[in-house]
Symmetry: C2
Subunit: 77 residues, 2 copies
């Protein structure tokens, strides 16, 4: 299965969601991307439809926004 | 593994998220509850922290609100 990508920014809501997602779908099935530490990935995430973090981009290309930690505008500062 | 519970209310956002969740974690690992059709489950969902649908209650007891279809107040009508 193609990997999902979990985008976050280190916020408490993000880290809680990360643990749940890893628990649900398995660490080997998801790439974890910290947009606060790797701003070069923000463009790709925006192209895939991200509006806030944390969010999970599924192998089908759908962006699932999970709870609400921060907007992408906030992440970009 | 204890099952997750996916709560929804039949909205388009709900149905799209449902397909993604089933694809990610497997239909056998998640119970699907339509709160619009089974209002007797709303109390349990509220006790578990649901604020909007669709939402996934994980085996750890955390409620993951996925995208946004409708508030629980709207579901209750």
């Amino acid at each position: 299965m193609k990997k999902s990508i979990f985008y976050h920014a280190g916020c408490p809501v993000c880290l809680s969601a990360e643990q749940e997602i890893i628990s649900l779908i398995g660490a080997s099935n998801v790439e974890i991307v910290h947009l606060g530490e790797d701003a070069t990935r923000i463009g790709e995430a925006e192209n895939a439809g991200i509006k806030s973090v944390p969010a999970l981009l599924t192998p089908n290309g759908n962006m699932l926004h999970i709870n609400y930690g921060a907007s992408i505008a906030d992440v970009k500062g």
